[in-house]
């Protein structure tokens, strides 16, 4: 290099060094942005939802008498009528009917307060009148109104009253749907994977199936909803909004995911094992049944749990096949109308009553905990069964 070139080179070298450092900073920045979002996101959701795990309860005298059997509002003193939740009061006539001994008595009990009282206690926007707020403040001083752990959130179904709405029926619905999803997708998915990895010869049918699976994996989930609507409901006559149609729809959607992960698990079994078994006279199927499948099973299970987590959070196709019905009681069979956890979250989100916002976030927290548990389970299983060949 001549001196002039050398000079230019040296001048550039500093700028290049700076560009080098800048580029690295961009990379760090990208990661930091992504992780920062995650942190903000979790803080936000926890901040919005954690208060739903406590709920305002009030200590009142419940009167079981003739008046309250006709007009349930009269079961409490007038002062409390706007304070005690209707979900408590409206069952009083029925309780009296079921249990005639109650008639004429009265009892002091801790019962649910209305959502407005609850929101007022939590310092949020509330529709309580000033007069009612005074009552609530007084009761709070007397210790007769308190925020207590909200067990009803986990044991009750949906309700039009925010204070009485819970996620139990949605959890049961999710369980039903996932059970059907599993029974649909796991056997078919694993069999497909076995066929493609162990039996298929390279011909146009195999290639068609492979191309098809890859495409199926990338089809938007909402289109599976259309499939459920027009084929599973329209052609096969499954009842709309039922866990059955939701489960089958999700099962078909999860099929490619399970096939792909099962194939990976099967492929991880070294050929020497197949050759060894074939060498002692095992047939193709026996090789699979006795050797390959047991060895691939942990991998297949890990993949299945992960796809389960994915199915658990899926919403769009289930909305299309109607799994967002209003379900106050948990379904007793897969043919009854059901809702699932994410759909319940969506329903609460869409409700105009402000008190539902808190419950929406709490529902999200429950969903996230379930998903994290599933994922942690999959990771644990993978660690437990990890094997190096």
């Amino acid at each position: 290099m001549n001196p002039e070139q050398e000079q230019r080179y040296q001048k550039r070298l500093k700028a290049r060094r700076r560009a080098d450092r800048r580029f690295r900073v961009f990379g760090i920045l990208a990661i930091v942005i992504a992780i920062l979002f995650l942190v903000v996101f979790f803080i936000d959701i926890i901040g919005k939802g954690h208060m739903a795990f406590v709920q305002a309860n009030v200590e009142v005298d419940l009167h079981y008498n003739k008046k309250s059997s006709i007009n349930y509002r009269l079961a409490v003193d007038k002062e409390y009528q706007k304070i005690v939740s209707r979900s408590v009061l409206r069952v009083i006539p029925k309780r009296m009917k079921d249990n005639p001994g109650l008639r004429g008595t009265s009892e002091t009990a801790w019962v649910l307060a209305t959502a407005d009282v609850d929101q007022y206690l939590k310092g949020k926007v509330s529709r309580l009148q000033d007069r009612e707020k005074e009552v609530v403040d007084r009761l709070r001083k007397e210790g007769r109104i308190k925020l207590k752990f909200n067990s009803g959130f986990f044991t009750r179904g949906d309700s039009k009253l925010p204070e009485a709405a819970g996620i139990w029926s949605a959890l049961v619905g999710s369980l039903y749907v996932l059970l059907i999803t599993l029974t649909c997708s796991v056997p078919v998915g694993v069999m497909t994977a076995i066929y493609l990895e162990e039996f298929a010869v390279d011909n146009w049918i195999t290639r068609l199936i492979e191309v098809n699976i890859n495409n199926l994996a990338a089809i938007p989930s909402i289109l599976f909803g259309l499939l459920g609507l027009s084929i599973i409901i329209g052609v096969f006559g499954a009842p709309r909004s039922s866990a059955l149609v939701g489960g089958v729809t999700l099962g078909l959607m999860m099929l490619p995911v399970i096939i792909i992960s099962s194939r990976a698990a099967l492929r991880a079994v070294p050929d020497s094992i197949r050759e060894g078994a074939t060498g002692v006279g095992a047939s193709r199927w026996q090789v699979v049944q006795h050797h390959v499948l047991p060895l691939a099973l942990p991998g297949i299970m890990t993949g299945t749990i992960l796809s389960l987590a994915q199915a658990m959070g899926e919403t769009a196709p289930l909305l299309i096949v109607g799994l967002m019905a209003y379900i106050p009681d948990s379904p007793n069979s897969v043919l009854e109308g059901a809702t699932v956890l994410p759909a319940q979250i969506f329903t609460w989100f869409s409700d105009s009553q402000r008190a539902f916002a808190e419950r929406t976030a709490a529902g999200i927290l429950v969903l996230l905990v379930v998903l994290l548990t599933l994922n942690a389970g999959a990771i644990w299983l993978r660690r437990l069964t990890e094997r190096r060949w």
């Binding site: 990208a30 992504a34 066929y195 989930s221 047939s283 899926e314």
Partner: protein
Amino acid sequence: MTLTESIEYLFTGLAVFGSGAFALGFHRAQKISDQGIRLNSRASHYGAYALLWFALPFIALASGAVLLHLQQIFTFPLGLALLLAFAAGLLGWFHAMRKISAGLRARAAVERVIAWALLAAASISVLTTIGIVGSIFFESVRFFHIVPLWDFITGTEWAPETAFIQSQGEARAGEGFAEPKFGAVPIFAGTFMITGIAMLVAVPIGVMSAVYMSEYAPRKVRAFAKPLLEILAGIPTVVYGFFAAVTMAPLVVKAAEFMGLGASFENALTPGIVMGIMIIPFISSLSDDVISAVPNSLREGALALGSTRAETIKKVVLPAALPGIVSAVLLGVSRAVGETMIVVMAAGLRPNLTWNPLEAMTTVTVRMVSSLVGDQAFDSPETLSAFALGLGLFVVTLVMNVIAAMVVRRFRQRYEL
């Protein structure tokens, strides 16, 4: 007898009689073996042989009857169908029992059935695709009988509100209601606007974090950051939607006000940004894979010529990985286009043809959900329009996926991966 009951009978019958068939076949083979005759296969294979001869005719007849019943093509007493199915199964079983002998190649026969069953399972995924394409296509054709295809593709106005009146037939014709309009342009425009915003967020952050992860990050940082990004991928879309609508939208509106701009709470920017964040891990993990697949010899070659790290990445590694990154981006686009919950919760319902991302606009998936979740009759034009929109969505995503697959195949060939 109701259908549910008879299906219960079918399953119990299958379980009870099936195990009986297996046991008897097994027993017969064992007896032959006890006589000191060498069997061609294991006794359990003969059991399975007998079981299959019972179960296959049984299942074939039973499922045929159930299907016919469901389709109401031909209904006959369910009890009779049940009886027929059992008769067919037993007939098959008799045949099997008669054939069981030491020379019968039961294992080969059973395994042949297994192989066919595996192929049948594999074909279910193909049937699913056919089902999706078929259902979308046929309902779309019905829609295009009502609304001309050309109006759908080029129309700039979408106003289906009066469609239900039209479906009432002639009875209320001429009452002076506005014609429903099904012009899909503003809907697709909204979709592409939100997708574009999402990609503006996801591509730089996704690719740069992949670069950092695979080229710079020390092992410890990688072990910490990669699972965190995966958590981002595991968050359900309904949760992103909630975050977008409840937390992000007010922030965006405030930021816009701060800059002196007016923004709607259902602006396109909010779902776009949140969707972009959702897609980051998707793009970064695919890009990470392809960047890691670029042979190390290229990196060494560039470094040995005196390149800095950044120059090596920008001028050698990224160009070499470009096909893979392009296909990751295309798959990301196809995800964003088909994403539903975020836009349902955070974007608008009203189609709006505009370039301003601060205005409310709607997307294909939002329209699909809102027209299918309502109480419309199944064959009203508005319901059918969801299928036509679905067809558009399917075509767009399919094209993206196919191009992505082709590009990535070329990448694989180049490095013989």
